[in-house]
Subunit: 104 residues, 2 copies
Amino acid sequence: MSGKPVVRMAELEIDPDSLDAYRALLAEEIDASVALEDGVLALNAVSIRNRPTSIRILEVYASREAYEAHLQTPHFLKYKNETAGMVTSLTLVDVDPIAMRSKA
Amino acid sequence: MSGKPVVRMAELEIDPDSLDAYRALLAEEIDASVALEDGVLALNAVSIRNRPTSIRILEVYASREAYEAHLQTPHFLKYKNETAGMVTSLTLVDVDPIAMRSKA
């Protein structure tokens, strides 16, 4: 896969009654994506302190093609389908990397 | 170092006239911190597309002690001093990790 990395921040609000189920599905999807897809470089999901239904995900894909391929994987489609009724708001923010460093 | 990880999102606005200088100082600080400090696990800095003066940094430290130690390092103090006049707004958002995965 070629091209430059695709980096994005997703901002989600989750139905409070579904929060535990949502978190489990999200964690499962992140584990599978980074383990199974060469082009998914990082997925970092956090909740805002004292606002646990406010989720932020920093997503790093190797390329546009890697991102498009990710959208077709069984684990992503499972996450998307099973959480569709739990997500009350989703904002996708395109961002440009300045410096991305993590321990090897 | 013990304790649980400290994760935070910094939201910054930068003086447009200082943006190039700010980005260089930030990248230098991030490179040094992750390379030199065992307790700095990840620093991921991005700018929002079409709003280049809006910066977001996802910070992951091994522990509270690691974070406190980071604040005393020469590279952080250099960054903090040299960028003080460039940052027009700084909001630190404490967050809790849900799933943090990146390629080894």
